[in-house]
Assembly symmetry: C2
Homo-oligomer: 248 residues x 2
């Protein structure tokens, strides 16, 4: 069954056409149908369509043009704030300001986000997740005025595609699936799993552009380098505490 | 467009019929089509069908019968181990043993899991996520022999449904969606958002069963109580360090 899920491509160029209200509403409704921990819906979706505000968000996403170009930017947040407010108003004693509930809320939020994306693609929209959200989560939280108990996890840009890219290649299925238990990889298996990608035209182009001798180094020396990774880890963990997800 | 996403119900009773190999394979393929950080596919799906092994996993899920009843139990894991092995074999310097990359890997894993579930439901299968995974992640990691760099996030049981439950109710859409920026809730709004649920028959039954005077207390005093929440937070954070996701 090669359906909508198999047609997914990340879209990075959008037409300016706005998303009709009823289409957007339907995608957001679809998001809420995803499974959620104890039916608590521990997430918020901040839908930014105002251009001036998208322009303020753009630097948080390293000025990738799609943040301004796409008519709709959805910041996906873990949210224990709303549920906590409700508990307090009922004289109950909420204890969701901790790491376990960050994880529950993040799970809720990401399942909802993926439903949003699948439904958007069913409507002919294109989407792209922005991993940059983790890099600049504190600044995004400031711009979007997120209260304590709410923290950004990822961002989805959505709109009508202005490009028709090829689907991204993936590792062979056996790379990510283990039967019964986890079976650790041998060196030879790792070589085999990456062989096709390492020989691809895209890889050859990347190596030439970057002046590097293998694809792994494109990741470790260009895209996701040690010092950035550690800085992001530290900053996000600090924000987690600041937003009240790590109280004892 | 009221499609498969709107038909989702969590299924907790399954027929023993196994999932045909090609159907399961197709759902797993669909999982890999989800967006992934830098196309790194930082997740593993551990598919446990062996009954003896599912029986060993059952206590980790508080002996919910579906873990033994459903023919297929998928433990969804964040995985930076495979990518790190590849980098090392290429003489590259991987730095994915930190919190930022736990978050990237968790995002990858959960988007893939949701694609798996959507595709499973397209095939007429039923699914249920097991939040118990976070409670007993260390024991699950032991049973499934997860190496460093791999950590369980959630579990999906899948199989042919032996029940046809109603769809769960959800809060009104405006509860979880914010336009432009986050708009904090007034007390009156919180009351309004929960009003329908608080008046439902299900709520009345729960209050009677639990001898409590409001629904919020069912959550805080019965389902997810402070001491458990803090214990899970501490245990999972310790496991995160043990599995090498919090190295400096």
């Amino acid at each position: 069954m090669k359906n909508v899920l198999f047609k997914h491509r990340s879209i990075r160029k959008f037409r300016p056409t706005p998303i009709p209200e009823e289409v957007l509403g339907n995608c957001l409704e679809a998001a809420t149908r995803a499974s959620t921990c104890g039916n608590m819906q521990l997430y918020s979706l901040v839908v930014t369509r105002d251009k001036a505000l998208r322009e303020r968000l753009a630097p948080c996403h390293f000025n990738q043009p799609m943040v301004v170009q796409a008519p709709c930017v959805v910041t996906v947040c873990a949210d224990v704030h709303r549920f906590t407010m409700w508990c307090r108003q009922r004289g109950a004693d909420p204890a969701y300001d901790n790491f376990a509930w960050f994880l529950n809320a993040a799970t809720d939020a990401l399942l909802a986000a993926q439903n949003f994306c699948v439904q958007a693609e069913m409507h002919g929209l294109g989407i792209c997740y922005l991993g940059t959200t983790l890099y600049t989560a504190a600044e995004i939280a400031r711009i979007l005025e997120l209260p304590k108990g709410v923290i950004p996890l990822t961002t989805v840009v959505a709109g009508y595609p202005d490009e028709t890219p090829e689907a991204a290649d993936r590792l062979p299925l056996e790379a990510v699936v283990h039967y019964e238990k986890y079976t650790d990889y041998t060196e030879a298996e790792i070589d085999e799993l990456w062989a096709e990608r390492e020989e691809s035209e895209l890889t050859h182009r990347l190596l030439e552009e970057n002046g590097l001798d293998n694809l792994a180094k494109v990741f470790t020396e260009r895209r996701y380098v040690r010092s950035d990774n550690l800085a992001v880890s530290e900053a996000y963990f600090a924000l987690l505490k600041e937003q009240g997800f790590f109280n004892k």
